[in-house]
Symmetry: C2
Subunit: 201 residues, 2 copies
DNA sequence: GCCGGAGGTTAACGCACGTTCACACGCCGC
DNA sequence: GCGGCGTGTGAACGTGCGTTAACCTCCGGC
């Protein structure tokens, strides 16, 4: 291949392979859902966002609901796996574990504001079974935080620690509302400081 | 005069019943919307929640969208007015003003978890004009916080203070996620402590 | 060369749901 | 009593949209 067109073709092909079609769809859909809500975004809109027509979606997902379910479940799984890994890597000190969890959540929220938005907004529009599955994953992620907080604050009850964890999530997950107000690095430092202060107040 | 009085009386009575009905509808709708999202809740559902059929809604609202718009605008107005009043009452000390704002937001979030949920979730499903109106109110409420935070933290820029305000909102507005885990009073104290710690970290 | 499957297209179907319409009923001023 | 008005009902309409159907194209393996 000698011409530039072929090069750009291969580059595009490489990009296309780097992200499978399913993931392309999920990513585009997440962005649209975050902006306007999954119920207001049509299948045609999702298709148009990746350059195909609406029904093409059904070559990759059984239904729109199945697509949303997979999206939410994927997010919850990434959070749970990431949180557990960071805690494991952080060593036995609960203060260090908390720092690791905060850093992880901050990074995730800054890198994926759309996923953060969709994550808790569209849970209610899931079929009961799928919603239960996602909620179970979410709950396990919360428990990772609760375990750390409990060892960090021996005097506090489990319920208080759980409420504390939810509050920290809310704090860090404010990124979609304050997008682009600060450079990413600065925002990360700010959120991490605030989150740790709130968690240990 | 007696005519005028009678007229205004009946007008007031009519307004009162109509307003209470409107309020009933808005309240029931807010609860349903918080649970399942405004797009998944039908007009019939809202009607059924107050014991009437769906079309009865149209005796009180021009359309479902108008109802949502009024709901969101009402929330934003209550927040803005409440925030300004609390700051005014708190006196000149910015630390005291912050405490007042935090207490206000915590009370609101604990008293109206459904409104909190709907408030930022269904903004995207509003008509452009209505959305702009609500966003303007929201922005002015944020600026109330930013003004206080800026005087409290002279070294910090406006953008950082705005991000900080959003983060505190996220923290306090976690109430829908941690509903009923703690008695209200305890939860209020916990959230207020965390919010102040985060705001002044 | 051919064949099968992966992935796309357009057209059409059906249902959910917002909205409107025609009508009914109770209440209050006259 | 009577008529207007506020508020409700059930039926019907229109449409947006998720989904399916029928058909096309490209491509890798035999």
């Amino acid at each position: 291949m000698t011409d530039a067109l072929a090069d750009s073709d291969t580059a595009l092909a490489a990009d296309a392979t780097r992200l499978s079609r399913r993931e392309q769809i999920l990513q585009a859909a997440a962005r649209l859902f975050a902006e306007r809500g999954s119920r207001s975004v049509g299948v045609d809109d999702v298709g148009a966002a990746i350059g195909v027509t609406g029904p093409a979606i059904y070559r990759h997902f059984a239904s729109k609901d199945a697509m949303i379910a997979e999206m939410l479940q994927g997010i919850s799984e990434r959070l749970l796996a990431g949180g557990r890994e960071r805690v494991a890597v952080a060593g036995p000190d609960p203060a260090e574990q908390l720092r690791a969890l905060v850093a992880f959540q901050v990074d995730f929220a800054l890198d994926n504001p759309a996923l953060i938005t969709v994550h808790d907004r569209d849970l209610g529009s899931l079929a009961p079974g799928d919603a239960a599955r996602v909620r179970r994953l979410q709950r396990r992620y919360v428990e990772v935080w609760v375990d750390v907080l409990r060892r960090l604050r021996p005097g506090e009850g489990t319920d208080a620690c759980r409420a504390r964890a939810h509050a920290v999530f809310g704090l860090v997950n404010s990124t979609p509302h304050s997008a682009g107000q600060l450079p990413r690095e600065e925002m990360g430092v700010l959120l991490a400081e605030m989150a740790e202060a709130a968690a240990t107040a």
